[in-house]
Subunit: 234 residues, 2 copies
């Protein structure tokens, strides 16, 4: 049935197995191949990746610290289902961090950085054209993380990376239909501002980009949250 996907991965990374397992899971979650609420059984994962339960547990624990999976006692690990409140908080945190980080990035942005960002956008467009919405979303997230890296702020970049990952879950849960990621425009404009070293412009563009993103979600009531079931059936 399920091929042992992990065999190659295992050999390639020698003893960084738990990181490769964690990033593989993270990517799958990012690309919405593992929707929120999915059960992540330890035995299943151990067989899929060809490693022992010990390493699976470590990987799940790592993702749990990133708030990507939730651990229920004696029940196991599940892909996290951010609450409405959590969703709002994540985007408030992004609004606090990302605009000024983009500002800093504009000052330090090198031509190579611009090239890298353009490559990202191109890959995003390609994925979108191929109908691979999940991959496009993943690349769109990497774009934001790359900007934080350009700003030369590893610490803040790590925070933003976590927030972007969680945003992916939030989008999966609270997405308001249609609107096939027209944000590419916003990303194009951002690149232009960064390339021109226009800090204030980059900051403003990032701020409005995030506002657009939030407004494309439905964070008013739990209209679409399939998480609780209790509240879904009252």
């Amino acid at each position: 049935m399920v091929m042992k996907v992990g065999t190659m991965t295992k050999k390639q990374s020698q003893s960084g197995t738990i990181e490769s397992v964690a990033s593989a899971l993270e990517k799958a979650i990012h690309e919405h191949r593992l929707p929120p609420g999915s059960k992540l059984g330890e035995d299943d994962l151990a067989e899929i990746y060809g490693v022992s339960r010990t390493q699976i547990r470590a990987a799940l624990q790592a993702l749990s610290h990133l708030k990507l999976v939730e651990h229920k006692r004696n029940r196991g690990a599940f892909v996290a289902q951010p609450t409405l409140r959590e969703a709002r908080e994540v985007f408030e945190a992004r609004a606090l961090l990302e605009p000024r980080t983009a500002h800093s990035a504009a000052a330090r942005c090198t031509p190579e950085d611009v090239e890298k960002l353009r490559a990202h956008i191109e890959a995003e467009h390609a994925a979108l054209a191929a109908g691979d919405n999940g991959r496009a979303l993943h690349l769109s997230g990497l774009f934001h993380i790359e900007i934080a890296r350009i700003a030369d702020q590893e610490t803040i970049a790590a925070f933003i990376a976590q927030l972007v990952s969680r945003s992916s879950l939030i989008i999966a849960l609270y997405w308001r239909r249609r609107m096939a990621m027209c944000e590419s425009h916003a990303h194009d404009a951002l690149i232009a501002a960064l390339a021109a070293h226009d800090g204030p412009q980059a900051e403003e563009l990032m701020k409005s980009h995030l506002l657009d993103l939030v407004s494309s979600l439905d964070l008013r009531n739990q209209l679409s949250a399939p998480g609780s079931l209790r509240e879904a059936l009252t």
Copy 2:
């Protein structure tokens, strides 16, 4: 020699042992009883806390994700030694997060919150008077985290909590002698602004408070960093 400190802790918390071990270690690091670079041997900790190595490993892994301990392959876990660059980044991140969080907190601050903060300060003063510098520092950190909680932002509060913990390590490494935490003044003023719901004032006070903190450190060159040895002896 070493008394089995963990016995009581073990029984009290039933199966939350890894959390109690982690928080005990975190507190010890916070209070500078475990200086940066300290070896954290698994067997030693297992005996001290009266639990198995498995749980020690989990606790160390958790602290590693908070950047409080560093894991060296086949060498074990050590209390982290933030680099100069990391130190600067931590305080830049705090400067980005905390002032505006204080602003939000001012709007939501209730009389009970004010009471709680005052109790914190009082305990801090008491610890300082008792000569327990480490505990005073710990409480001073909790003060900042409490403000983030008042702002009703769990996500940002978690980030700030991590940054405060790392700040404690940075202070241990890059502390410029004298100046026995005169920041109590700053905390008093902050409480006043919060109680008066004066958002802009709270924001400004927090910003200058953090600047004061940074200026009390020595982040220009690695004059006092005992971490690298390679760079210390060139």
